[in-house]
């Protein structure tokens, strides 16, 4: 019996992952210094050690909450901003400035500026929001702009307005753009939140433990926390994809 397409894809993915793990192992063996480049086995052991610590799970939970809060805020304000921009060319011009500027400001600058004026526990969420907002706003606005004229005319003649127009026509018709914006923002949200946690170092955070591991030259821990972040980020994106599938 021939394998199905889905099975084939999973098989190829597994082979690809194993290939990269083998390369990592080879690199670690060649380098020979586990505190700089630990092997996958060392990293796995360190990760297993972390898994039994309650602090690990608390840090994961708090970081994930920060990511979710920042992304949710960016999405909400992205929606409101795009809605306002479709209603008024003035709002479109006003919002286009921060959207363009934030896109090109380095994350590190944003974090350092935020640290000057905000409490360290708020900085990661704020930075996540600020980094994701332009992506969400731009994508949602593009989606709203691309709603076919046929639907706009339908809404006009049948007087479908306000929240009804927004919820039943505008958002569903823009869903492709909104979906793309959210998935793009997922990765960005994790990267910017963890980077902000590293610099602002709130006690309960994955970023703080990354920094600690680096300071104590604990390579396996550093890699284990990184693997944890990658896995959580992937899980988070999977959840977002599942939620989007309901639309």
């Amino acid at each position: 019996m021939k394998p199905k397409t889905g099975e084939k894809r999973i098989g190829k993915k597994t082979v690809a992952v194993l290939l990269w793990l083998a390369l990592w192992q080879l690199g670690a063996m060649t380098f020979g210094r586990s505190f700089v480049l630990p092997s996958p086995v060392f990293t796995c052991k360190a990760l297993l050690d972390l898994l039994v610590q309650p602090l690990f799970w608390r840090s994961c939970g708090v970081t994930m909450l920060r990511v979710a809060a920042g992304l949710a805020l960016a999405s909400l304000l992205g929606f409101l901003g795009a809605w306002a921009a479709t209603k008024s060319s003035w709002m479109r011009a006003i919002l286009s400035v921060p959207a363009a500027v934030i896109k090109s400001v380095p994350v590190m600058s944003v974090i350092l500026i935020a640290l000057l004026c905000l409490a360290s526990s708020i900085v990661p969420t704020f930075v996540c929001f600020l980094m994701c907002f332009p992506v969400m706003y731009t994508n949602i606005l593009q989606g709203f702009d691309s709603v076919p004229v046929e639907y706009r005319e339908l809404a006009q003649v049948y007087r479908i307005r306000g929240a009804k127009y927004f919820g039943r026509i505008l958002v569903p018709a823009s869903m492709g753009y909104i979906r793309a914006g959210l998935l793009l923002s997922c990765g960005l949200a994790w990267k910017s939140t963890v980077a902000a946690e590293v610099l602002s170092s709130p006690r309960v955070s994955m970023g703080y433990h990354l920094l600690s591991a680096k300071m104590y030259l604990d390579g396996p821990s550093l890699f284990a926390w990184t693997v944890g972040i990658v896995l959580l980020s992937m899980l988070f994106e999977k959840c977002v994809r599942l939620a989007l599938r309901r639309w």
Binding site: E150, Y151, E153, L154, Q156, V157, Y158, R159, I160, K164, R168, I169, P172, A173, M175
Partner: protein, 198 residues
């Protein structure tokens, strides 16, 4: 009683091409008017001008404050909503009876929960008609409403609709290519000539 819809010297030009030229006409209140003419002579543009979807030179009066129920040239059903939800969206709350009756009239009761992509072209057309009927505006504006329906179905449905329009003294404007259809269902037939004049 309203005075009908009056067009005075209506002209429309698209990128240098004249689509309608100095059209003046009165669409009578409570009558069914068929608009005929060759393809590309501005029939759809005329309907869009009446609906306020296109601007024009000249004067259109008698559409102010009306609630038009429209069937566009394409069915324009929202693909993410079921057929019933498409009707509910335009009708608003408390119109369950009108929706059920319109679906029954268009012989679509069994398809109420289906998405437009699950319907045939003819069924989508009937769904667009059902939407306009359920909405129940004070004027019906229909752009080739029976296109895509097979002959037997067309006769059955158009016959029922025309009887209803006459009984209710409804103001109806419909575009058609079919002169037999126009003669059978319309009280007045207007023809757009080449060059966009009436």
């Amino acid at each position: 009683m309203r005075d009908g819809i009056v067009l005075s010297g209506v002209s429309k030009t698209y990128e240098g091409k004249t689509v309608l030229q100095d059209v003046s006409f009165r669409f009578e209140e409570g009558k069914v008017t068929a608009i005929m003419g060759p393809s590309g002579q501005g029939k759809t543009t005329l309907l869009k001008i009446l609906l306020g979807l296109e601007d024009c030179e000249g004067i259109v009066s008698g559409m102010e404050g009306r609630r038009p129920a429209v069937v566009f040239q394409e069915s324009r059903l929202l693909p993410w909503l079921s057929l019933k939800q498409n009707l509910e969206l335009v009708c608003g709350p408390g119109k369950d009876r009108e929706i059920t009756e319109a679906l029954a009239l268009m012989e679509l009761t069994d398809a109420a929960d289906k998405k437009p992509s699950e319907l045939s072209g003819g069924m989508q057309r009937r769904a667009a008609l059902a939407r306009a009927i359920a909405y129940g505006g004070d004027i019906l504006v229909l752009d080739e409403p029976f296109t895509g329906l097979d002959e037997a179905l067309k006769e059955r449905i158009a016959g029922k609709l025309a009887a209803q329009w006459r009984a209710e003294k409804k103001t109806v404007l419909f575009v058609t290519h079919d002169s037999a259809e126009a003669k059978e269902y319309a009280d007045t037939i207007v023809k757009l000539n080449e060059g966009g004049s009436l």
